[in-house]
């Protein structure tokens, strides 16, 4: 396991790239989800006021 984590001595290079990638992709997805919720809220409020 520790051998796996060490990545042949290149751990300081390999792991940050993967961590950054995962964070970026997850971040984009989460942002998209939150954005949809906010948009639905805003539209719902406007349509309620109409009625």
């Amino acid at each position: 396991m520790s051998e796996f984590l060490a990545m042949g001595g290149y751990a300081a290079f390999v792991w940050p790239t993967w961590v950054a990638s995962v964070l970026a992709l997850v971040g984009l997805a989460v942002h998209a989800l939150l954005e949809r919720r906010a948009a639905r809220e805003a539209l719902r409020r406007l349509e309620e006021d109409e009625a």
Partner: protein, 249 residues
């Protein structure tokens, strides 16, 4: 232009099918890709374990470029046919492209350090990606600076189309510029002789990234539709209020 979004049924129907499909495919392929990248492929003969960086760097760089191509196509479609969905797509794609570009630069730098011994190398590829980042930022800044939505759409489309022409020329000129000096590799490697066992993780990750980007674009497009509908409602209401005021006075 905005009338499309007051009746977005066609897009909704398509989105309802494609969004879960793309999302599911992205998750599965990412899982497979991670497994292939770490467990099913050996360390490289010359690069050692740093080859695993390639499995996130190349897909990110490819996505950065593919998304700009998509941005240019969407801009062209909007410019010629004035289809509101195309403009919404362009607006949604740009920040995604910028994020992938930054990711490509970051992972590229970390891949480069063991390879070239420096955190940054002014080689053709990385320099082109850096210029691509500036192009994305310029596009986003221009759209943000224009308050009128129609102007932002039209002007943005022109800039995006000029940008894709420019990027082709930039690629050539940067290749030319770097051709006198090849960066000296600490690890000598003779170019893209990729082994089959390395091709699979790379391909799977690239396809996974593509489906993820597709999911992101469609999902955000759906939110854009809601936002634009809200904007129309808001404007209608303001117009009614103004008309009432004029009638009273």
């Amino acid at each position: 232009m905005l009338s499309y979004f007051s009746n977005p049924q066609r897009f909704d129907q398509l989105a309802r099918v494609l969004i879960p499909l793309f999302g599911g495919l992205a998750l599965i392929l990412l899982g497979v890709g991670v497994w292939l990248s770490f467990f099913a492929s050996p360390p490289d003969y010359q690069q050692g374990e740093t080859i695993r960086i390639m499995y996130v760097h190349v897909p990110a760089a490819y996505m950065a470029m593919a998304l700009y191509a998509a941005l240019a196509v969407a801009s062209f479609v909007y410019f010629v046919w004035r289809h509101a969905l195309a403009d919404a797509a362009a607006e949604v794609i740009a920040p995604l492209g910028a994020v992938f570009t930054i990711l490509a630069l970051f992972t590229g730098s970390l891949w480069g350090k063991p390879m070239w011994g420096t955190w940054w190398e002014w080689d053709a590829r990385m320099t082109s990606v850096l210029v691509l980042l500036l192009v994305y930022l310029g596009y986003m800044a221009l759209r943000a600076a224009l308050e009128d939505a129609q102007q932002a759409a039209r002007t943005g489309a022109i800039l995006a189309m000029a940008g894709i022409i420019n990027l082709v020329i930039v690629k050539f000129s940067v290749d030319w510029w770097s051709s006198l000096h090849q960066p000296a590799s600490v690890i000598r490697f003779d170019g893209p002789t990729i082994h089959a066992s390395q091709l699979w993780p790379l391909a799977v990750m690239a396809v996974a990234y593509t489906f993820l980007a597709g999911w992101l674009v469609l999902y955000r497009l759906r939110s854009q539709a809601l936002r634009r509908r809200a904007r129309t409602l808001q404007r209608q209401r303001e117009q009614v209020a103004r008309q009432l005021e004029e009638a009273v006075s």
